[in-house]
């Protein structure tokens, strides 16, 4: 091959090497690991389908998936509603928009670790800020992180607080693509604010909506650092996310083969969910 023709390949060779070493080898190895038992320090042991049997009977894993889904079901709609609400407000001609946008975006750039440590204090049962406020107006304390029914929703609220700024900005951009004349002609026909919103705004920002849902879903499935720092997976395993469980299996107990199996299975679930979302939302636009 002439030097000239070889050049494009040189451009992509680093990527190919990286891909082979860090992506395709791990995927293949992960697949292989599923059929073995290994704790890293002792030699690997072939166990056939044992890891699969274990997975099917693992009610804790099932719980962790359910927990992750509960998180998503609360977090995503909450995020969309709040983000859309503020985006609509900010899309009007107002002063200090830059300041508000910057303020809402602040938690997005700050590390999730900071947010988690901070909210752990806000959520404290005995002397946390939120409960102190509740008491001062005569209400009862809430077991934000100690009540198994509320713990995961509490984490979902915190996650919304952290990320909503990003989605406000995304929706803002989407809102700005809606042509003004659509609103004007609707007004001439006597449409109310709600009708304008429902029949013009919403359909027009559908692509943004789709993007927001997919991004939040992928992000939500990776839920790890918040339960890891705040609750360790409790109370009563209600905040044990799937990734946290896989991490525990792999790096607390060193069940590498089993963790690989869990990982593959969970990845499969994510792909299915995204596929369903894509189908459903594309149907809405279509």
């Amino acid at each position: 091959m002439t030097t000239k023709k070889a050049i494009p390949y040189l451009f992509i060779v680093p990527y190919l090497i990286h891909f082979l070493v860090f992506i395709s080898f791990p995927v293949l190895f992960s697949f292989f690991l599923m059929f073995n038992k290994w704790n890293i320090i002792a030699p690997m042991e072939f166990v056939g389908f044992q890891n699969f049997y274990r997975l099917i009977h693992d009610h804790l894993f099932l719980q962790s998936i359910l927990n992750t889904l509960i998180f998503l079901i609360i977090h995503i709609p909450l995020q969309i509603i709040v983000a859309l609400f503020f985006a609509v407000l900010l899309s009007k001609k107002l002063k200090f928009i830059g300041f508000f946008r910057a303020a809402y975006f602040l938690p997005v750039v700050v590390s999730g670790v900071v947010v988690t440590i901070l909210w752990q204090q806000l959520y404290g049962y005995e002397s946390g800020l939120l409960n102190r406020m509740l008491i001062s107006v005569g209400l009862d304390k809430v077991g934000w992180l100690t009540n198994p029914e509320i713990a995961m929703p509490s984490i979902a609220i915190m996650a919304t607080w952290k990320n909503v700024g990003l989605y406000i900005v995304l929706f803002l951009a989407g809102l700005q693509t809606v042509p003004q004349y659509l609103y004007e002609s609707a007004e001439l026909e006597g449409a109310s604010s709600w009708q304008k919103f429902r029949y013009i705004t919403l359909p027009m920002i559908n692509p943004t909506m789709f993007m927001v849902i997919i991004l939040s879903t992928i992000g939500g499935f990776s839920l790890f650092i918040e339960p890891y720092v705040m609750t360790g997976g409790g109370p009563l395993n209600s905040t044990l996310s799937a990734v946290l469980y896989i991490y525990k299996q792999g790096f607390f107990y060193y069940h590498m083969g089993y963790a690989a199996t869990l990982g593959f299975f969970f990845a499969g679930i994510i792909l299915v969910v995204i596929f369903i979302q894509k189908r459903y939302i594309e149907k809405e636009t279509g």
Binding site: T3, I7, L10, V13, P14, I17, V21, N39, I40, I41, A42, R54, Q120, Q121, G124, Y125, E126, S127, I135, K141, G143, L145, T146, P148, T231, G232, G233, G234, P235, L236, N237, F252, Y253, Y254
Partner: protein, 429 residues
């Protein structure tokens, strides 16, 4: 063209890079101690002593690298084959895992080991550290017994000159404290506190010591089966459950706040000798504390046992000169070595003449704060030998949380379920 060649050369170089080098001297020994400041000073002293007497066979000393936990660092070293020759801070519960994987030297095969060890330690203790394959892979070194620290003033104020020693006495004190400390219908001070977090090692500081106390040092696992499905475990669960049910213990993670014992929010705590230095450092004016044995069921007979947070010495199989390593270790655990350990780090060496030998008993007379621990030292147990100990404790912890903290199961059910789960785990490995 040259640029291209250079770039291509760089890529594989990055990939096939060198890792770190194993820092071990050729003729000498590499010794890792824990990275606790006092222990580092102790280790330095012993090592310098040895090196001056043995210039031909030097020992190089390093504190274990600081990391998330020393257990993790050791695992990384084992996996990366960068282990030292000797490590002196190995948690007893981790040993079986490494022994089974062949990473540790069976010490009983070293000449002179067995007589030395039987002279230093009780035969019960030696039995405790013997692996399931009959070999001994660890040397019992030091313990930090879990006892009950209590706020002297507070108890005095509610009419107790001695701290509670049985479950029912503990409840009585708890009720008094609760009565005196209600605000807006919420209790804001408690008799004690345990971490409600479900992470497996938390139980080493609440359930396990209390279980050992109630059962006089009973096993959790024996012959690869769960043997804790007995009245002692049920009583322990029941004791702690009652404390939560009656709001004598708070349900929150108080560790996320400031130290609740020193801020007079809790009157007792189950903890070890390390708390002495910590409390002396941070206590407010006029604060007085002392230690006593753990509470036990009313019908308990005999001495009160507890968990010892046992840390032991091991030799990794990467060691090239095992005999030399053993010689050095002997100087660590000789009477002089143990005495230095006690003096410099306030940790208890696990030797059977701790209370009978004159030098040691003089030390405890001069340091009365440490005395309860010296007396407790004979009645201490380390964790059972099992390569899946973490999972066992995790299973117990799950049931613990359900029953004790959230009251969703009776103690009897919870203990039985825990035993079933543990048997399943033991079966699978």
């Amino acid at each position: 063209m040259r640029k291209i060649v250079l770039i291509i050369l760089l890529i594989p170089f990055i990939v096939i890079s060198c890792g770190h080098n194993r820092e071990s001297s050729e003729n000498g020994i590499l010794y890792w101690s824990s990275n606790n400041t006092d222990e580092i000073n102790f280790a330095k002293k012993i090592v310098d002593n040895w090196n001056s007497k043995n210039p031909e066979r030097k020992v190089k000393f390093q504190p274990v690298p600081e990391g998330q936990s020393s257990e993790e660092v050791i695992l990384a070293a084992v996996v990366g084959e960068t282990t030292p020759d000797i490590y002196s801070n190995m948690w007893q519960g981790d040993v079986e895992l490494y022994a089974k994987a062949g990473k540790l030297v069976p010490l009983d095969t070293l000449p002179g080991f067995l007589p030395f060890i039987y002279e230093r330690c009780d035969s019960e203790v030696v039995k405790e550290v013997t692996s399931s394959d009959g070999h001994i892979y660890q040397i019992p070194w030091k313990i930090n017994p879990i006892m009950m620290i209590y706020n002297k003033k507070w108890f005095h104020n509610i009419g107790y000159n001695n701290p509670p020693s049985t479950y029912s006495e503990y409840f009585k004190a708890a009720e008094k404290i609760k009565e005196n400390n209600m605000q807006n219908g919420y209790v804001n001070k408690w008799v004690g506190y345990i971490e409600v977090e479900v992470t497996w090692w938390q139980r080493l500081f609440d359930f396990y010591p209390l279980y050992l106390a109630a059962s006089n040092g009973g096993h959790l696992i024996q012959n690869n089966k769960a043997v804790f499905d007995n009245k002692y475990a049920v009583e322990t669960f029941s004791f702690l459950k009652t404390l939560f049910d009656n709001k004598y213990f708070p349900r929150e993670r108080l560790s996320a706040r400031q130290d609740p014992f020193l801020s007079n929010d809790i009157a007792t705590r189950f903890t070890g000798p390390w708390e002495i230095a910590h409390s002396n450092k941070f206590k407010p004016e006029g604060f007085q504390f002392s230690f006593s044995t753990l509470p036990v069921p009313g019908n308990h007979k005999g001495n009160v046992f507890t968990y010892g947070d046992t840390k032991n010495i091991v030799i990794f199989n990467t060691c090239k000169n095992k005999i030399l390593a053993w010689q050095f270790i002997k100087s660590l655990i000789s009477k002089e070595g143990d005495f230095e350990l006690l003096k410099m780090t306030n940790q208890i060496p696990r030797r059977k003449d701790l209370t009978t030998d004159k030098e040691f008993s003089d030390f405890f007379n001069d340091n009365p704060e440490m005395r309860p621990f010296a007396l407790q030292a004979k009645y201490v147990k380390g964790p059972d030998n099992s390569p899946v100990l973490k999972e066992v404790f995790d299973a117990i912890s799950q049931q613990f949380e359900e029953c004790v903290v959230y009251g969703k199961k009776s103690p009897k059910e919870a203990v039985k379920d825990a035993a079933d789960d543990v048997n399943l785990i033991l079966l699978q490995q």
